[in-house]
């Protein structure tokens, strides 16, 4: 019944600061935005800990949702945040923790939204940051995306979720499986059914998971097709220097699981070469002791999608770098043009095709335009952000893709000091670059035979070539 919330959404009234200069529309309702000077003094110091209030702010600086778990904190507290935002120039550089006279603001930036929480007393900042990300994850999980539109459309569910996730500023239920039992995610079918039958989206019994010692799994799961899929995704983080030698490389991997199994399956996943995993972090469902003693991942999984482990293959091991780049970028002194020539080729690709290759370059500010010809794929150059994107596609060793051409510089400006570095994205299917291999998956506790699958992908993570 989300369409009920269809009346006009008001926009935050101009709060005196002039950030962005973007719209500050006035609606009739905005007059009721309370910004009384007394609001701050409602909450004296020492009034409880942890998270006090949450404000959601979009890119243009509108506060489009607020939630208070204790006394109300006036919206005007966000002015300090806007101030910091203005100072930082770039959204990425807004400090996550801001100190104001009466409060502390801890914020995260996710999907073009700022989640700004108001704190009154000492609290581990990571605790709050972690929680805010968990909130964003939950929205993502419920609405498919964590965007302003999605949140506004589902504002009631959002409110119900926030109410369940935090009690008096302390996290209460954050496991997706439990939340989904308490508050059902919106689906079109359900909203139709609910409007006819008058039933609600809210569960009326305590999710069994809350009380059991496996709070992450909901009870009474039933599927006709029982499936368990694992995606082993490895990302190569690397810095390649000018000469092509590797300054730093390591592999960051995750195993994401999609498990749709009935009942209470007890799984154990073993690897052919578990010693490869240098540093592992686990989903709480994993039995740590078994891993310690046998290097087997043994767990009762949550229902649905979740991240089983993330791991790192240390930089001490040699990391195979699947691509190489030949580049020559030069800017002529006292001339308004430069040359740009980049060729990309496969290297140590273990016989697999490298696909989805994209090269992104942040060009210096003096670059006005670029006239390039790619032998393969297409390129775009955004003259405002100065970002060159070259969508290469697949690399075939027979004909190496290259991008050549001229760079137009602002005339009269000094030539750029530094050549821009190239950020490369690629993907290799059916390969885990570290060589990690899943040995087998066993299931105990249930009788049926599940369908099992493992997929390997290698991607470029933060893969940077200095030029």
């Amino acid at each position: 019944m989300s369409e009920v919330v269809s009346f006009k959404l008001s926009v935050r009234q101009s709060t005196g600061h002039s950030n962005c200069g973007v719209l500050t529309a006035f609606s009739a309702a905005s007059a009721s935005v309370r910004r009384g000077p007394g609001a701050e003094s409602l909450t004296g110091p020492g009034l409880g800990k942890m998270i006090h209030s949450l404000f959601l702010i979009n890119c243009s600086g509108d506060i489009f949702l607020e939630k208070h778990w204790k006394s109300v904190v006036s919206q005007s507290v966000c002015d300090y945040f806007f101030e910091a935002q203005e100072k930082a120039a770039d959204v990425e550089n807004v400090p996550p923790v801001i100190s104001t006279p009466h409060h502390y603001l801890i914020s995260i930036y996710r999907d073009k939204l700022f989640f700004v929480s108001v704190i009154q007393t000492e609290v581990p900042p990571l605790f709050v940051i972690e929680f805010l990300h968990r909130v964003a994850d939950t929205f993502q999980d419920y609405f498919g995306e964590c965007s302003e539109a999605a949140i506004k459309d589902n504002v009631v569910i959002v409110y119900e979720l926030l109410e369940e996730m935090l009690d008096n500023g302390f996290p209460l239920a954050t496991e997706s499986n439990i939340l989904k039992e308490l508050i059902k995610p919106p689906t079109i079918l359900r909203s139709v059914v609910n409007s006819i039958t008058g039933s609600s989206n809210v569960g009326d019994t305590l999710p069994t998971g809350q009380l059991s010692n496996i709070p992450w799994r909901r009870a009474g799961v039933k599927y006709t097709n029982n499936e368990a899929y694992f995606d082993v995704v490895e990302e190569i983080d690397a810095i390649i220097d000018k000469s092509g030698s590797t300054v730093f490389a390591e592999i960051q991997g995750v195993i994401d699981a999609c498990i749709k199994l009935s009942g209470m399956p007890d799984l154990s996943l073993s690897f052919m070469n578990p010693r490869l995993l240098d540093d592992v972090s686990f989903h709480p469902c994993i039995r740590f002791k078994r891993w310690e003693s046998e290097r087997v991942l043994s767990f009762i999984p949550p229902d649905g999608n979740f991240r089983l482990i993330s791991y790192r293959v240390s930089s001490q091991n040699l990391v195979a770098i699947p691509v190489y780049v030949k580049h020559s970028i030069s800017f002529k002194e006292n001339s308004s043009c430069g040359r740009f020539d980049v060729t990309i080729g496969p290297k140590q690709n273990m016989g697999k095709t490298i696909e989805g290759v994209t090269v992104t370059v942040h060009m210096p500010k003096v670059v006005l335009n670029m006239n390039l010809t790619p032998t393969q794929g297409s390129y775009t150059f955004d003259p405002v952000t100065k970002v060159l994107t070259w969508d290469v596609g697949k690399i075939t060793p027979q004909k190496l893709p290259s991008l050549k051409g001229l760079v137009n510089l602002q005339s009269g400006a000094p030539k750029p000091e530094e050549n821009p570095s190239l950020n490369i994205q690629f993907k290799i299917q059916q390969l885990a670059i570290s060589g990690l291999k899943v040995n087998r998956l066993d299931m105990y506790g249930e009788k049926y035979k599940p369908f099992k699958g493992v997929k390997y992908v290698t991607k470029a993570g933060k893969f940077q070539v200095r030029t």
Binding site: V4, S32, P124, L126, I129, D204, K462
Partner: protein, 1120 residues
Amino acid sequence: MPGAGELLLPSSDSLASPLCSGRRPLSTLLSIKNLLRKDTAYNPWSVSFLAPLLSFLSAKHSHISAKCGPMTRHDDLKEMLDTNKDSLKLEAMKRIVAMIARGKNASDLFPAVVKNVACKNIEVKKLVYVYLVRYAEEQQDLALLSISTFQRGLKDPNQLIRASALRVLSSIRVPIIVPIMMLAIKEAASDMSPYVRKTAAHAIPKLYSLDSDQKDQLIEVIEKLLADKTTLVAGSVVMAFEEVCPERIDLIHKNYRKLCNLLIDVEEWGQVVIISMLTRYARTQFLSPTQNESLLEENPEKAFYGSEEDEAKGPGSEEAAAAALPTRKPYVMDPDHRLLLRNTKPLLQSRSAAVVMAVAQLYFHLAPKAEVGVIAKALVRLLRSHSEVQYVVLQNVATMSIKRRGMFEPYLKSFYIRSTDPTQIKILKLEVLTNLANETNIPTVLREFQTYIRSMDKDFVAATIQAIGRCATNIGRVRDTCLNGLVQLLSNRDELVVAESVVVIKKLLQMQPAQHGEIIKHLAKLTDNIQVPMARASILWLIGEYCEHVPRIAPDVLRKMAKSFTAEEDIVKLQVINLAAKLYLTNSKQTKLLTQYVLSLAKYDQNYDIRDRARFTRQLIVPSEQGGALSRHAKKLFLAPKPAPVLESSFKDRDHFQLGSLSHLLNAKATGYQELPDWPEEAPDPSVRNVEVPEWTKCSNREKRKEKEKPFYSDSEGESGPTESADSDPESESESDSKSSSESGSGESSSESDNEDQDEDEEKGRSSESEQSEEEGEKKKMKKRKKVPEGQREGSSSDEGSDSSSSSSESEMTSDTEEEQVEPASWRKKTPPSGKSAPAAKEISLLDLEDFTPPSVQPLSPPTVVSTSLAADLEGLTLTDSPLVPSLLSPVSGAGRQELLHRVAGEGLAVDYTFSRQPFSGDPHMVSVHIHFSNSSDTPIKGLHVGTPKLPAGISIQEFPEIESLSPGESTTAIMGINFCDSTQAANFQLCTQTRQFYVSIQPPVGELMAPVFMSENEFKKEQGKLTGMNEITEKLTLPDASRSDHVVVQKVTATANLGRVPCGTSDEYRFAGRTLTSGSLVLLTLDARPTGAAQLTVNSEKMVIGTMLVKDVVQALTQ
């Protein structure tokens, strides 16, 4: 709750009464409120009686005010809320919540909303709750209307409703209901449902913030909830504790060990809170692990490297490192301190960055230097997380890397900067890189910096130049390289870069000015181009300070500056005055006029600082007629040698704030920050943490123990901390001792103990007088246990033993207890055997080791688990001896030999197994199984090992070490541990030789899944009392004639199940006690045997399945 809504709020028309006209309702309302105020303290229920009336009144009241005032908005919503249709109500509530979400004021709807508080539709109800919590504070009177509904909700059979009623009730910030809240919290704290108890814990800080006078009562509730054993409650109650009474550290003592042990199962948020509380706790209760280190360590670098090694080798080396310590210093870590460190370590693997950080700060603040290194890896991992997480982690790493540089050195490259990092991250990484730079890695670091200098991000470049400056000051070797590099930067096109370089060069030059005249000249030339004030000021200062190195250029610079004086920035002007004064003092011939000119200009400057400075300088350097006293010292004043500035990190000394805290991040004390206390000079009494629960150790002789204890042992405990050790404390022991001796007087028949006595004789025969006290201690222990069933026959042979044990007196006692507490786990390993021949066998082996030639059978390869304690080693040897004493072994090993692999199926390899009933050395939760191999083929069998086990959930196997070769006709024994997880499911595994694989399975009889426990009669009764009802299984049986004697009964029972005999007052009753190996649940067995043969068997155990099966097995054994 049928019709709660209607009951609460009579429809306003039907009840229209003369009361509600004019101002009357308001005054009535007030008087009722006053009444409430007085009354609630005594009888909170009166609220619920008054509420309907009150609600009715207030509805009228608001109605009136709505009519009078201009507030006619939201009429449609009010109408919708007043209908009987849930769907309309729901829609209205959704719209109202949407208003609240956008920060719009919906408070005028309060009366309309509040009457739906008892609505049956759960979603409407929840949304009403949301509304209530938001506006109750503003409309306190009206909010009272809802209270009775919540009070009813608190009694609801559905735990979710109880909990949410309490949640909302406690969230309504209306001071008048404080007594009701208090009562509700108290009741909920003893609710059956842990979820409700958790909610109660959450409600405590809410009430406290509402009325801090309730503190004392709340502390009582906290104390009660702290004792709660469920993980669900633990995090929330510690949070409440931290908020209400963080100073009451004494409340934690009794729960300390429990919290440590529960920690891993608590949800992530709770873990963070508990860990940070325990950090503070540990700082007040334990001694600093580093207190003596500084004295003994000549070279602090050593520790750094030590920590790296440690890390590389993994957890095993931790012990080694710890073991190395005591040899050098008397410091001994409190086992509880160790417990905390050990139990938090796995949490470094948590997915939650907050938990990892919490553990990291705990290790940083509490762990010995050598162990802190383990956190580095986890922290580096977090650098892959969201940028906010990176930001916080890097701040902490920056602080840590100053104190413990070696810790992060292996991860240097992880801090390399990418051009895509946000600037704030770049600068933090730079900070860390600078902290980590040392003699060896400086070339790499500088090469990296070189790349950074060319970045497009100018703030970052400036920071890099600063960083280079710091490297140059810290590492003398590269000072010149850095300086040259910086000088090269002076020709950079970017002015900011040049300016920053100048500032840094200035600082560097101050260290060794004499050698760098050239650079100063170069800088002097720059004054023509550089516009950045700070840089100009720096150059002027340099020239003035070292004018003797550039005697010819200096006056010229002053000339130029005098020319442009009026256009300069203030800081530059000040430096011009400075330069003029210095030159006047050194070279007055050339600069006298210039100086006077500058001073005159400055005299009329707009800035009073500059005017002031000019006047002051003039007086000082140009001697006037009368005052010459100061000007004689002018040279000393201006040209005194100045110490070079120390370039240091802004993160230095930030670790006086607890790491990971908000205060640390802000580098300022945040509201409510609690200082991390300093280590105490002397450790407070550690016995406060002892708990009088049987399974937890009473550490009474800790002082004595401390003298000898080595962390070595405490580390080798494996999983079980001191808290888990069996009840082998001296007190209860002596208790049982005395009891048994009194029993012996009572004349309990003891024919059944004949057997053991023979064993004992045997062992005594072998024992020599020169037993070491440790063995004696052990033996004495054994003695005590034996005395229990032995009864009267404590004459002849056993006298010797008791004599020797008593003669060993106090000291022995000490060593005994010492052992127990130092390594309770290994004691536990020793204690479980049924108190008969298994320990006897061990003793023999001990003696063998001491006094006899080594056993003839070559020991098998050492146990798979690296045995870390002496005890474990000895056990390993014991096993090899067991084939030598089959007569001893056979009665022990419960089910006798069983076939695992027949020699035909095994192509000549025959494998049997027995349950040895000895504790498994690697893991106390494992059942140890002896596997006997014999080769009846005519070829040697090679490479015998266990292949991939295919195990049901929870079951795990500790494989035996590979047997390299078994020659024809030979047989050997190996031992393996199986954790059956308290189930009788079979453990299937493959037995592999070089050529073949055999699928085998071991299914344990239920009796082998437990280990004996020794307890007194009283304890037994007490425990039995706790395990009644569903946990009690009773079976009637008739004993055949053959098995009516005590001896036979006891033997049969102990053969069936690995239980320990418990002394018993009545002769017809037999009691046995044990614990299941994996979960440690008690298994109590009572056999009430009448002389007629009728008997009743009772088993009490939490594990009902085990209980049932055990009854079946024992009945079968007895009736056969």
